[in-house]
Amino acid sequence: MLAIDAAAYRSPWRRHHPAAKALLAGGLLGCALLLPPWPGAPVTAAVTLAVALCWARMPPRTLLRAARIPLGFVLTGALTFLVTVGPDGIGWADGGAGRAGEVVARCGAAVLCQVLFAGTTPLADALPRLTRLGLPAALVEVTALVYRLLFVVLDTARRTRQAQAGRLGDRSLRAAWRSLGGLGSAVFVRSFDRARRLEAGLAGRGYTGSLPVVVAEIPLRTPFLAAAPLPAVAAASVTFALGNLL
């Protein structure tokens, strides 16, 4: 279905507490954002990549493909650094390539940290724990429902799209628009139908307004928690050492 999500459930880190993983990935993210981009960003990226591939054993394909979507945005945005627009019109920017490189490198490192966390932390483990952070139960329950329903609706949308293609719904631009309108409204109607049916189904299970669940216990204080800050410390140390050398 969604590659990052599926990888998270298969991850060997599944048994570690989400907070410990947040500490690990968050520390690296902090390095990506706060250290001087050169050499901080490449160092952080390298450390994150090593952690993701060797320690968390994320499938390289998933990692690579996940990075593709933000890359489009990052590269398009970076183009703007190459030129300058001032009172004299458009011209090549001095040092623009350097600035673009810095932003792309920092972003690349940060996206890797993001995918490291998302690809090892199943939302099923993380979402119900959000109430412990003080978020209101209503918000957490709606969020959990969105998470459950989005896969059901995504499946519907995918099959409807296939059915439209089968009936030549992508043959011309006109057909594609007709398809998209039909798909949008079909998905809309069926999302709300889902809500209505789930309401009836849950009423039978005793739903009267709240959706309490018991979450599997995951121990927080483990050797993993102790090791969690180490990658960030390593990235920072190497960056400073290299910074002094260069």
């Binding site: 279905m1 999500d5 599926a6 459930y9 599944r14 199943p122 939302l123 099923a124 483990d125 979402l127 119900p128 959990a144 429902l145 998470y147 459950r148 896969f151 059901v152 889902r194 049916r197 789930l198 009836a200 189904g201 849950l202 009423a203 039978g204 299970r205 005793g206 739903y207 009267t208 709240s210 959706l211 309490p212 669940v213 018991v214 979450v215 599997a216």
Partner: protein, 274 residues
């Protein structure tokens, strides 16, 4: 044998529609399988929802252990801890992100302490033979697995009556056989099972009791007898089952002793002829 759950002269109509039925009665004894048969649109699901408190009868009453059900929040809670409905489409019932969380909802919602909830969840998953799915995300399960999780969610309340709407729909033959075996264990442990279907062969293979819904009337009786009544089945727009037809033919030719039961599956035939 006294009924756990019974339906007394119940009438129901959806708003702005003609009545689905005007006076049905049905008794559910413990530890037996009762199959409710009828064509689509006859009101099978409506009857099941009436029996489980999802709808309130316009007339007549539903009784739990002989006592009329009250439709206060408290009365409904009592009914639902004893009688649980499993819908045809598991996606209409599963809301949580992973299996153990979903199954924990019923007992947790009852206000049971966490340790007891965990015990109930483990017990329900074991009964459905899906203990290994406990920490799997709901959306990555197959249809058959989701169906089992939905049933486990009902079992976690330790109901005395388990009501299933079209339990075999969408399952392949191996899946149906495995599910029937699991349900048979529940039944022999004392749970009453009520299931709707329009598959007469399935009903004949599985049930001890049958109820056929035809033109707003309910015919009840032992499954072996009721499902051999072809004119009744025809009036309910159902097709005759193989088992009774084959049994009749074999008896006529002296290949089956007069008192012997009809074959339930094609495999029974092979056994019959050695």
């Amino acid at each position: 044998m006294s009924a756990v759950l019974s339906v007394h002269d119940v009438a129901y109509a959806y708003e702005g529609a003609p009545p689905v039925f005007t006076g049905l009665s049905l008794h559910v004894p413990p530890g037996r399988v009762l199959v409710l048969l009828g064509p689509n649109g006859a009101g099978k699901t409506t009857l099941l929802r009436l029996m489980t408190g999802g709808l309130r009868p316009l007339r007549g009453e539903i009784r739990l252990h002989g006592k009329p059900v009250s439709y206060s929040r408290r009365g409904l809670t009592e009914l639902r801890t004893h009688v649980q409905l499993v819908l045809q489409d598991p996606d209409d019932q599963l809301f949580a992100a992973d299996v153990a969380q979903d199954v924990s909802f019923g007992p947790r919602n009852l206000g049971l302490p966490v340790a007891e909830v965990r015990r109930r969840v483990a017990e329900a998953l074991a009964a459905m033979q899906i203990t290994e799915l406990a920490d799997r995300p709901t959306h990555l399960l197959s249809f058959g697995q989701r169906k089992r999780v939905a049933i486990a969610g009902a079992l976690a309340l330790r109901p005395q009556v388990l009501v299933l709407d079209e339990p075999a729909a969408g399952l392949d033959p191996a899946g149906v056989t495995a599910l029937l075996e699991t349900l048979e264990e529940l039944r022999s442990a004392g749970t009453a099972i009520v299931a709707s279907t329009h598959d007469v062969d399935l009903a004949h293979r599985w049930a001890q009791d049958a109820a056929v819904l035809a033109e707003g009337r309910l015919h009840t009786g032992p499954a072996a007898e009721l499902l051999a009544d072809e004119s009744l089945l025809r009036s309910a727009r159902l097709t005759p089952a193989w088992g009774p037809a084959v049994g009749r033919l074999l008896r006529r030719h002296g290949l089956l002793p007069p008192g012997a039961p009809d074959p339930r599956t094609p495999a029974d035939l092979d056994r019959l002829t050695g």
